[in-house]
């Protein structure tokens, strides 16, 4: 296995994630939707304060069960974009100013190989700054675990798990994308 291929792949993946962040911060929501695979799973669990030894089992709510912050597919995300674009979604009208910062990008799994990668599991960290109207500011910090899938010469997000480092949500709304 060539480490050069791995580095090229990592650069490619990082550039994809940064470009995704640009789309969101520039409010190019329709182009952002095109980065999502049709069978996307988009999941943000609720975090719970549990006893030592129980975190693996019980700290996070589970995808596909019960209530989380997001447990969505592409249709629902497309609806969220459609809602913003009506211009009368008052939670996002006037539009928020956001800054999506992505860091700590690591390729956790590459299938079948760096030279011929078709699917990549990527972990990263995010810091999303949201400012709206005059005095509202929110900071969202956490981790993401993505599965990216080859789409033409580029990539699409097939699965995104967003681990927000909060228990009780400290923002009034989750009206931005992560």
């Amino acid at each position: 296995m060539s480490s050069a291929a791995l580095y090229r792949l990592k650069l490619d993946i990082e550039d994809f994630l940064y470009r995704e962040a640009e789309f969101l911060d520039e409010r190019r929501f329709t182009e952002w939707l095109d980065l999502l695979a049709e069978d996307l799973v988009y999941f943000m669990p609720i975090r719970r304060n549990v006893k030592f030894g129980q975190h693996d089992e019980r700290e996070n709510t589970r995808q596909g069960e019960g209530i989380s912050w997001f447990d969505e597919d592409k249709w629902t995300l497309a609806k969220r974009v459609e809602q913003i674009l009506t211009g009368v979604h008052f939670a996002e009208e006037p539009l928020s100013r956001t800054c999506h910062m992505v860091s700590n990008v690591r390729l956790v799994g590459v299938r079948p190989s760096p030279e011929t990668a078709r699917e990549v599991t990527v972990s990263s960290r995010f810091l999303v700054w949201q400012n709206r109207v005059e005095y509202e500011s929110y900071t969202f910090v956490g981790r993401r675990k993505d599965v990216l899938r080859r789409a033409g010469s580029g990539w699409q997000i097939a699965r995104r798990e967003i681990i927000l480092d909060q228990n009780v949500l400290l923002a009034k709304n989750l009206s931005t994308f992560f």
């Binding site: 609720i46 304060n49 447990d71 609806k79 979604h89 996002e92 949500l169 400290l170 923002a171 009034k172």
Partner: protein, 451 residues
């Protein structure tokens, strides 16, 4: 202390004029903590969150942390989450199972019924102390009603069903099985989030503020309801198109928006996105009609159980509590409900609908929080506070016990909100329980005379 005279100036339900001060003033807020949240029945949880002996769920009453737990004898307890020695929280987990609560500070331990059990070096250092006097502070009364768990600190509070009064018939529509059997709900998850608004804006929203519908225009335009993927617009399936709408105010301060379906009461094709889900709800509809007959025509929309518990009765389905943090900050807890014996596919369909509709990530509720925040913020201003809010919508609508029990309007109105503040003023004035139950409310006097 805010005097009765001041309260009377701030709240004039007869003329529909209410001062902004009650939403932002710290003195009023402190009086709410002292006189309202210490007496009223407050929603603390759902039985399904503590199914087994030893299970606990930490909750809130007003600003304070409480533990809701089930002992090994299957009895439920609610007590203050604060050690009697030096106040440390004895439980800082969301939920779990335990046999003892151990304080991290000095290791005092409490059993599941809140009794003080272990005091290190007790014989040596605490000679003569009567441990039975130092239990975790229990609530005065608690009630389990169709799965929901309620508590009050006031030993003189009426029993919960008396407190609920005629609102029971409407609240049951949220808590009963979709097929008409009583009770049977299960909580499948809880949202907790903090938003910068006075808690009463949230309580008002669910009293039947139908007037704010246009605020949700964006979500209605795109269509996110249970038939949304089939192209149906709106945020829920419109089962109410042919119905007579009712806005009902109750003597105890509760208020709901419900509806009576037309006399033919035909099934409205809902949940169209998945045929098997639609078939399930059609079956439930028919069973409910068979069980309840004409009473099946009554369907819920929203409501608030005085003071700070609200519900969505049908689409979506949840009960929630608005916990005060300060005059301008509130923590919302929403308990999402399904029928416990519904098929897994139905529960999955519903939870996805709930998540996209409700709470901070919900496409509908997001616009509510926006409104409540800026309404609160604008009302803190010196000039703003001199100008009261207008509660004069539909001043003379309302008939007593017609066509259902309660003070009923068949047109859009703010009378449920006016009724809420009548009772709110009573509690803040420190009125008797008779007054706080609305027994002196002139709107209900005719019924009293008849009785």
């Amino acid at each position: 202390m805010i005097t009765s005279e001041t309260i009377n100036r701030f709240v004039d339900a007869d003329r529909g004029i209410i001062s902004r001060q009650i939403f932002v003033d710290r003195g009023i807020y402190l009086q709410e903590l002292e006189r309202l949240f210490t007496r009223a029945w407050l929603l603390v949880g759902h039985e399904s969150l503590i199914p087994n002996g030893g299970d606990f769920f930490t909750s809130r009453m007003g600003e304070e942390s409480v533990i809701v737990c089930r002992d090994r004898g299957d009895k439920i307890h609610v007590f203050l989450n604060s050690c009697r020695h030096r106040g440390m929280k004895v439980c800082r987990y969301e939920q779990g199972n335990t046999s003892l609560f151990t304080c991290p500070y000095h290791s005092w331990t409490y059993t599941l019924d809140g009794k003080l059990q272990g005091v290190p070096l007790y014989r040596q250092l605490y000679e003569g102390m009567d441990r039975s006097q130092w239990s975790l502070v229990p609530v005065a009364k608690l009630a389990i009603y169709k799965g929901t768990v309620w508590a009050t600190w006031d030993k003189d509070a009426p029993e919960f069903l008396t407190y609920l009064g005629d609102a029971k018939e409407q609240f049951d529509l949220c808590l009963d099985h979709r097929d008409g059997r009583e009770g049977g709900s299960e909580c499948i998850g809880v949202h907790k989030w903090v938003f910068p608004a006075n808690w009463k804006f949230a309580a008002e929203n669910f009293l039947g503020d139908t007037y704010h519908n246009p605020s949700h225009r964006s979500v209605d335009m795109i269509g996110i309801g249970p038939s949304g993927r089939s192209g149906v617009k709106g945020r829920r399936d419109d089962e109410y198109a042919e119905a007579q709408h009712l806005w009902i105010s109750f003597a105890g301060g509760h208020g709901v928006h419900s509806a009576i379906a037309s006399s033919s009461n035909e099934f409205v094709d809902t949940y169209r996105d998945q045929p098997e889900i639609g078939a399930y709800f059609r079956h439930c509809f028919q069973e409910r009609k068979r069980r309840l007959g004409d009473k099946a025509r009554l369907i819920p929309f929203v409501g608030t159980i005085f003071p700070n518990s609200s519900f969505h009765g049908r689409q979506p389905r949840s009960v929630c509590v608005w916990h005060p943090h300060s005059p301008t900050e509130t923590e919302g807890w929403r308990f999402f409900l399904v029928d416990r014996d519904a098929p897994a596919a139905v529960k999955d369909f519903l939870r996805r609908f709930y998540m996209r509709y409700s709470g901070p990530a919900g496409m509908t509720e997001q616009d509510d929080m926006e409104n409540w925040l800026y309404a609160t913020r604008a009302s803190t201003g010196t000039i703003a506070r001199r100008y009261p809010f207008n509660y004069q919508q539909s001043m003379n609508t309302g008939r007593l016990n017609d066509p259902v029990r309660g003070y009923v309007s068949t047109e859009i109105t703010e009378h449920t909100t006016r009724g809420f503040y009548r009772r709110w003023a009573d509690y803040i004035r420190g009125a008797s329980w008779d007054d706080c139950l609305g027994r002196a409310d002139p709107r209900f006097a005719a019924a009293k005379a008849a009785e």
